[in-house]
């Protein structure tokens, strides 16, 4: 017994103790709920069985019900649009800004740091601000676009079924842009300068240097940024209740919001769990790419 405590104070036991405490907490608060979630997706969960662990087994009935739900394909379409265009917008604009701020000029890093403001703001506040900017009649975005001659008539971003998902995409691009830019800037800074000098001496123009040096050298960074982008957009929730609440008529509902609505507005916890298990498959896929692309850095 004495040796046990001595080990805790002055040996490997100390390390094991530190890790175990954190791991027990994470397993209890994240690991077990995850398994419980999968379990619930195969159970019948209603108000009567909510309090008990033993519930009637439902087989894959929940999955069948979810796929057959009238809004299933609409939500799938919205999720694909939301994920793809958020990621594309964040990545392209983030990359462009990262390339721009990699130039040498006074105040570059300070101004670049200011962009990160969007990242520390509460998602709901970002949603509130964008909800006001995107408002139909009095929103400032419509005024700006009209003055630039891009649109003629008022666009009802939040209440027009054709635009509602795009309203959230625009806000999400703004929200995630800065973080993408920061990560890409780190990758850019790691490329040795002399590669560019050598290429310039050999007569490569800026475009060729970008294609033959920047992109290949940034491959693992780009992989990490894209998979983090996928994970980030699938985690994005706060913008939906703030901007559209999934409406009108589910035209801006995405999987994560649908799952939450099932559980906490319709109290159909089994279906909520089922949708989130389906989403989880997607998230795991993204995180495998992420871990693969950062693996050599993890090993150090």
């Amino acid at each position: 017994m004495g040796r046990f405590f001595a080990g805790l104070r002055d040996g490997v036991g100390f390390d094991i103790l530190l890790v175990t405490v954190a791991m027990i907490f994470l397993v209890a608060m994240a690991g077990l709920p995850l398994i419980y979630n999968v379990l619930m997706s195969f159970q019948q969960v209603d108000m009567f069985t909510l309090g008990s662990f033993i519930r009637p087994f439902a087989g894959i009935q929940n999955y069948i019900d979810v796929v057959r739900a009238p809004e299933f394909w609409l939500v799938t379409r919205n999720t694909v649009i939301f994920v793809f265009f958020s990621m594309a917008g964040q990545f392209v604009l983030g990359f462009a800004l990262a390339l721009f701020f990699a130039q040498n000029f006074p105040g570059a890093s300070t101004i670049r740091g200011l962009f990160l403001v969007s990242w520390v703001m509460p998602g709901l506040v970002v949603g509130a601000i964008w909800s006001w900017i995107l408002a139909g009649d009095f929103g400032v975005l419509n005024t700006i676009l009209r003055n630039l001659g891009i649109i003629q008539s008022t666009v009802f971003w939040k209440s027009d079924p054709a635009f509602s998902i795009w309203a959230v995409v625009i806000a999400n691009i703004w929200l995630g842009l800065a973080f993408n830019m920061l990560l890409l800037s780190v990758g850019l800074a790691a490329i040795p300068r002399d590669l560019y000098e050598a290429a310039e001496l050999d007569g490569a123009n800026a475009f060729q240097r970008f294609w033959t040096i920047t992109l290949p050298m940034m491959r693992s960074t780009i992989g990490a940024v894209l998979s983090l982008g996928l994970i980030g957009t699938l985690q994005q929730f706060d913008l939906f209740p703030a901007i559209t609440e999934g409406g009108p008529a589910n035209t801006s509902t995405v999987a994560q919001y649908w799952s939450w609505q099932m559980s906490f507005q319709l109290y159909d916890f089994a279906k909520g769990a089922t949708i989130s298990v389906m989403m989880l498959v997607l998230v795991l896929f993204a995180s495998i790419i992420y871990v693969r692309s950062t693996r050599h850095e993890v090993r150090g």
């Binding site: 100390f14 709901l124 506040v125 006001w132 400032v140 703004w174 929730f237 906490f264 995180s287």
Partner: protein, 275 residues
């Protein structure tokens, strides 16, 4: 060969880009200073005609913001405390060793980092209900949000511990310190700045936490400011100057801390985020 005006031209472009990007923030503050009729002016005014700050005390009392902000502070403090206490030790060990177990640990932490809160909230709610934790809703939210915040914290703080030279700790051990002593008197003080920055980041992000609080906390007296904001925000809101004033009160402290610590936060993120 150098053209001296180019850096200044780039600076001008950078400032213009920042102005465009930060316009939503500007718009929040400007709207909150406009009168109720001016916000619906067409075309909108880009600078308020008469600056009217009376909405601030009005929103503060009408929306009982002191209750909401106090709850937000409590929840964020709880999340930060749990994350720092449990996460720091874990990050230290993961930085100290290189073997297959550390790889497995890091891998599982990265996996936990990617779980969306919207996925976790359903099982957590049902389980908290079964264990009676829903009677202590703020504690329940703190536990759930801490588990969400910890993986990110561990990954960042681990990068900080990697920069602490092993030799210093070994020297302390040779001099007769125990592992515990060396950890508290050598390693922790050296990594203090990095841990502090990550703790502040954790605090800021849990200060804005929404989904767990919205789903778990039913009583308005216990809800944080994010849920309070969602109470009068929706696709059909019209009360925009109050909403913007509420948002401004809510985020100004966060923005102030961010601007003050910007350099440290950015360098802390860049050293750890991709590793």
């Amino acid at each position: 060969m150098t053209r001296p005006f180019i850096p200044w031209l780039l600076l001008a472009v950078a400032l213009a880009l920042a102005a465009v990007y930060l316009f939503p923030l500007y718009w929040m503050y400007v709207t909150s200073f406009k009168s109720g009729s001016e916000i619906f002016a067409n075309p909108p005014t880009f600078w308020p005609r008469d600056i009217d700050a009376s909405i601030y005390p009005d929103v503060w009392t009408r929306r009982t913001m002191h209750v909401f902000l106090w709850n937000s502070t409590l929840i964020a403090a709880g999340v930060t405390a749990i994350t720092v206490i449990f996460g720091t030790g874990c990050a230290y060990v993961l930085a100290r060793y290189r073997n297959v177990w550390v790889d497995i640990g890091l891998f599982s932490i990265l996996m936990l980092q990617v779980l969306p809160a919207s996925v976790m909230v359903t099982p957590l709610f049902v389980a908290f209900n079964q264990f009676g934790l829903l009677n202590y809703p703020r504690t329940a939210v703190v536990l759930a949000a801490a588990a969400k915040a910890m993986p990110f914290f561990v990954v960042l703080v681990r990068a900080t511990f990697m920069t602490v030279p092993r030799e210093l700790e070994e020297a302390a051990l040779v001099d007769g310190n125990s592992r515990v002593g060396a950890f508290f008197s050598i390693v922790l003080p050296l990594a203090r700045n990095g841990i502090l920055v990550c703790a502040i980041l954790t605090f800021m992000s849990s200060f804005g936490e929404y989904i767990y609080s919205k789903s778990i906390i039913q009583s308005p007296a216990l809800q944080p400011a994010s849920v309070g904001l969602s109470g009068f925000l929706g696709p059909n809101s019209t009360d925009w100057n109050s909403i913007m004033a509420y948002s401004a009160i809510y985020v100004t402290p966060i923005l102030a801390v961010f601007v003050l610590l910007q350099r440290r936060i950015v360098s802390g993120l860049t050293s750890g985020a991709l590793k």
